[in-house]
Subunit: 374 residues, 5 copies
């Protein structure tokens, strides 16, 4: 169990209080105070500002209204944030509840003025736990707001491209930004799957050499991770498809073309997961048959040793019997009692018979193939 | 079996008498006499009255006809109740039969003037049994009637919000009330699933330490509970969807928006159940392989001990044989008979050979990895 | 195997002769001569007549043409019956072939003037065999003809209601009669499923106490019965649905409302079967793990006894060796040969060592948990 | 393995040469020279002629152009046949390729003037091999051409009816003939399935009495045959459905009515196969558990015998030890050394103790239920 | 493991860098420099030229603009290739990225002027590894460009037909060429499947004779290959279907007819794979039961030998006990101590009893069927 470092699922349960008023925001335990960064850009300009508080947002947006804005909010633990968002952008209460309730499945809700999307980010954190983080997006014609649970910035590649002005990112508008972020998220799925796939290969090798209880445990753990990835990728795929087919004007035709690519990636993720799930099933089957094989090996050793020596021990036992040769009281000779013991080569003959028995058995076992190493 | 308290399904069978006239009401065994509470409210007013008998209902409804009414009926064991409902509200006989027959799947039947819905409430009762209770609703424009089997009031959070006037509950009308009650029911599914999930985790840990017959039994029991939850959540989801898409004027547009949320919750329930079902399957697989592993361990102990000592016992047996050194009758020396017994260090050499054999075997087993603890 | 009375499927194979002319009627082996009963009724009148031969039918129908008629034919073994039906009612040859060929799946064929439906009746007969009987219906505007294989009258409850005039049965017309009969058939499915379910519970209990070959056999037998019920209920459900949606004027709107109820019952049957099938699968899994558990138990007994006594026997064997203390020929003392035998407390010490070894092993096994009863 | 005659699949692989020109006809190995029979008939006339060569066909068709013709070609091994068919009837190259390539799935291709259908004939040949033969049909308004691989005439019943003029066969035209032949083919599926089903029952019985490696092998073989039948029946069903719904004028309305019957038969085939497949799965499960049961039995014998006698042997061993009662050198009495050996009834007491131990163990095993025969 | 040469999957992982700009071309590791061959042809003319560099392409295309061109590019490791293609043919960036990213699923993207298709070529390379190579196609009205990873020319049969002018290939235009190449690819699937199928048969035979760990391993390996083929054939089938139904004018009606044939082939591939997958599952099941059977055999040997000899050894042990016949100190006769030892035929009787016990046991085992070879 020590040899392989084990990637495992992080258990995070968010149990809604039964009957709490719908639309009421409930912060989850351990929610972090929000960090807000505003990126404003177009083809020629690019600004990046960290806000001290959500209240500065309005001012920022008004400063350069002609630019596209990406408001990157990491940390969901402040009720005033939701209030501000609700009032400033006129967001439905259910959307805000969903942002705070970090157990949403990937979804896409279209409202009159904006579009609400949820994706799930999957990555292995430093403790080898698989983090399953909710990322919410609110898309306006020129503004994209993204919400993440943790401070870890997984969107660095996008920020880098934004900064350097490479590719379409600056000219694509807010919907292209949404696509770019989703693309990063999906690409991370591959990274995770291949990491898990590598573990599976290591396990398979170890298993072939020596079946082991903890290998089984790990295989199951990876299988569960695979199930979780599939559970995430399926609705993600559906939602990307919904975005492609949506009639919303918020998503440009240019972005739609690229979203098809994302859709294909989702399909690949599901495909890969399915085939790796098959691999785990195979490993579990193999494990059972390998354990049975080992049992066979153990039993063969026991059977060979016992079968050879038990009859021999019996013979030795026979000639260890004390049947009297002479009646101790009358002194009468009892000639039928173990005369072999008094023949000149009785011992030699007996040993010869024993060797013979052992040999016959060895030949029997050899012909059955029980003496070969496998 | 004593350590884990075991949540299990309550078995409740309602066998319709074959051929009984359709629409005929048959009270199930142990049906309780009804307790009736009437809640009348709008944005500004709120009244709550317990009725002594169903006959007082009419009077109550007429007293404040402008208010929204929720008639909460717990206990289904009174035929006069059905008669009254039928006459007072002009309800179809089949609906009344379905209310009394407490084994309905979640359903939604639209009639001209009203809407009949069935949900199933799942919760763990005090005896750790999973109660699967039928809740029926009849929805009129300003009246909602709910029917439950037991007296236990699971709708407390809604009543609390009603009393305190929090949220939309007072202004949403009867369909919003229906939604609110359904929402409580679905939220309870999560509570139940997480409870079962916790048990599964405990079982998994115990299983890894020590596979056990009763753990297996419990896993199966939880699996069956999961199957039952799914069997309930699937049609519930369909029916919620039907409500969203229904053209009935009884369900307001406002309520429909919230029902989408309920729909999402149903999906999450199904998702969760599916993945927990996978976990139970994994546990059963692991159990089988752990049992096989234990068998291997047991057999290894047997094989090691037997393989080492059986040959040694044989050797001891050989030198316990009584081949005579001297013919008792003739006194002739039989020098071939076990001369080892009469060599000066015969015993020492024999013991040395025994130790050697034991050592060789120990090394063999050690190299096979049979001596390691796993 | 003796304890539980075993419900099992009745095997009944009807192999169509390859290439026999389609539409040709082939009586199956053991077909009974038909018994014909004619029920004529409307809201106010009710007559019930047993016919001696099919030829009297025409006369009966003409006597009271304004009444609704249900012609109940039990026993299919008379070719003249088919001839009469064909001519009198102008029925298609394929329909008649299907009535005689008692292996039809539930079906619904709409012809211009009439409607042909097949249901399958499932019940446990006196020999604990599950009877799977075909019931065919031909529906005319005012006449319903039903065909059954056996004489057993399963429609007693309908006849009782017809006689007593309870419910809608007298006023509903021929299509309501068809519904009523189908309703009885479906209700019988529940009876059968619950009987099988009870057996499963008994088996589960016995299995937990003592896994057994015959329990396994029975479980499989019940599983097969469940598969058969599902195989019957699925097309039944489809056909009921077809009846609800059919545009045929033969089925009144009033009947359709009730058929929806039948549809729901079919769904419940399928649901129940699915979950019981899951139970059988669980039982089979549990059985395998219980057998393995028993094996572990057996092996533990063997291992404990063997591991403790084999080394002890070896020690006893050692001190049973006959190494000589004195050379018999020369009389020389061989002091290295088993001096223990001649020490004052050699025996006592040896016994003590044996007890020690036994104790150490007992402790080892106790710590491994092998001594506990499970 | 000797007892049950084993039906098994015939392996026949036809590997298309990669990249061979599409539409090019490749005769398979062992293709037989064609035998051609022409049946010409209408309600009143019937002729049957065997042709010596395909070139005589044209002449035959012209002789009685007003009759319906069924051209029955058995044996596909002559390229000139395809040339003739192509030119005479103006058939697409792909159709001809498909006729020659005997690994087609059931298909239905509609061309402007004709209809091309493929069915697969399944039957057990004399060597107990399941023959999977391709039958191709080309349907013209008044001509049906059928192509089979082998000379075996499976359509005898149709020919008999044709000859005797029974049923609709003479008046139904070419499409009714196509239906009649397909009907024979499907009916043969039932024959095959029931044969396999009978084998399964035999196996189940044998298995219950004595699990066996070869039974397992046979079960798998039957399972594979079932899979093959389903693989054939599914597309057959689809194609029959296509024929029913086809808008082609080649298939008369009269024929369509009968095809619905064929469709139902296909459904029954699939149903039966599914349930027999479940039976094979059950048999495999049962086999595993029966093997484990036998192992339990074997181990119980070993454990009972070993557990009883090993401790007894130990006791015997103890009293076979040679601890000296008197020091041979000093003559000193060593009174602690095995005084039991010198008590008057030592032997009797020892034997009594042994019997007691054996009894206690027997009781223990009896209470565990290990002594009962199962 | 040495006996069967093992076909296995080649592992090739291409992990997209998360967040790399979409449309940016990333060459995979080990990409080969491109080899370009241009085939220009029509019904009467045929030219084949190898280009030294992509820059010569333009010149070639202009030389004979009236001919159909197939540009065959093998090797994808040159960024200038993509630049040239992009500019010369005005290809979308995403298409070029997909060509370079060799892990695409089969796809079909329709653009205004051209059509982009991806297929996957599967074949066993010289090292018995299954190569899974991406082949991309860009289809213009008169030009088809194909892109492959490796230099291996799998399209030889097409080139041969092109050269020799056989079949429709020269007159079919670029879409027929696309079809021809796809046809070769699908045909190769059959070759691969049958190779794997042959291995499975060999494994089955070996397994029946002697279950083995490495056979299991190989079976799993083949199962995984089958899964991979199915994963490839499913989308391929969909895309072929899309091509048939596409409204693009790039694909001629003539080609569509042939594509239906390709579609059928895809279906056959999927069918075959499914049934072979079932075979692998069966093999794994059989393996487990065969291992259990072997265990039974081993245990039977152990049990028979032990059960027979352990009681005998016990008896020998009893008569090897040293209970004294005479008290050594007092000289008193102890007549109860093992008087058998002093009866005249004690030894003979004892041996007779032993033989009897052995015989009884042999008969017992023989009747249980444990002595038969299986």
């Amino acid at each position: 169990m020590a040899k392989i470092r084990r990637i495992h699922l992080k258990q995070k349960k968010y149990i809604p209080l039964p009957g709490s008023s719908p639309g009421a925001i409930q912060l989850f335990e351990g929610a972090l105070p929000p960090k807000i960064t505003v990126y404003a850009y177009d083809s020629s300009e690019y600004y990046c500002d960290e806000l001290n508080s959500i209240d500065e947002l309005d001012e920022h947006l008004k400063k350069r209204p002609e630019l596209t804005h990406w408001i990157d909010i990491r940390g969901l633990g402040d009720l005033s944030l939701y209030d501000y968002i609700e009032k400033e952008f006129n967001i439905h209460k259910l959307v805000l509840e969903d942002i705070a309730n970090i157990q949403q499945r990937p979804k896409l809700d279209e409202y009159d003025d904006y579009l609400y999307a949820v994706s799930r980010m999957l990555y292995v954190d430093t403790g080898l736990e698989i983090e399953n983080e909710q990322v919410s997006f609110i898309l306006f014609p020129k503004i994209l707001i993204s919400f993440q649970e943790n401070y870890i910035q997984k969107f660095e590649p996008v920020i880098y491209r934004l900064k350097s002005g490479k590719g379409n990112i600056r000219s694509g508008g807010s919907s292209y930004m949404l696509y770019s972020l989703k693309d990063v998220i999906i690409d991370d799925y591959f990274t995770l799957i291949y990491k898990l796939g590598d573990e599976l290969e290591t396990i398979e090798e170890l298993l072939y050499r020596k079946p082991d209880k903890s290998l089984m445990y790990q295989t199951q753990s990876i299988k569960r991770a695979m199930i979780m990835i599939r559970r995430t990728a399926w609705p993600e795929r559906d939602k990307v498809n919904d975005m492609i087919r949506s009639e919303s004007k918020l998503i440009t035709k240019h972005t739609r073309t690229f979203l098809k690519d994302t859709y294909d990636h989702c399909m690949e993720v599901i495909d890969l997961v399915e085939s790796y799930k098959d691999v785990t099933t195979s490993l579990i089957d193999m494990n059972l048959s390998f354990i049975s094989n080992r049992m066979n090996e153990i039993m063969k050793v026991l059977t060979i040793i016992s079968s050879i020596f038990i009859p021999l021990t019996f013979i030795a036992g026979v000639y260890g019997m004390n049947f009297a040769y002479q009646d101790p009281q009358t002194g009468k000779m009892l000639e039928n009692n173990m005369p072999e013991l008094y023949s000149e080569n009785g011992y030699v003959y007996t040993m010869a018979v024993m060797v013979l028995i052992a040999l016959v058995q060895m030949i029997y076992f050899w012909r059955k193939g029980w003496l070969s190493n496998k």
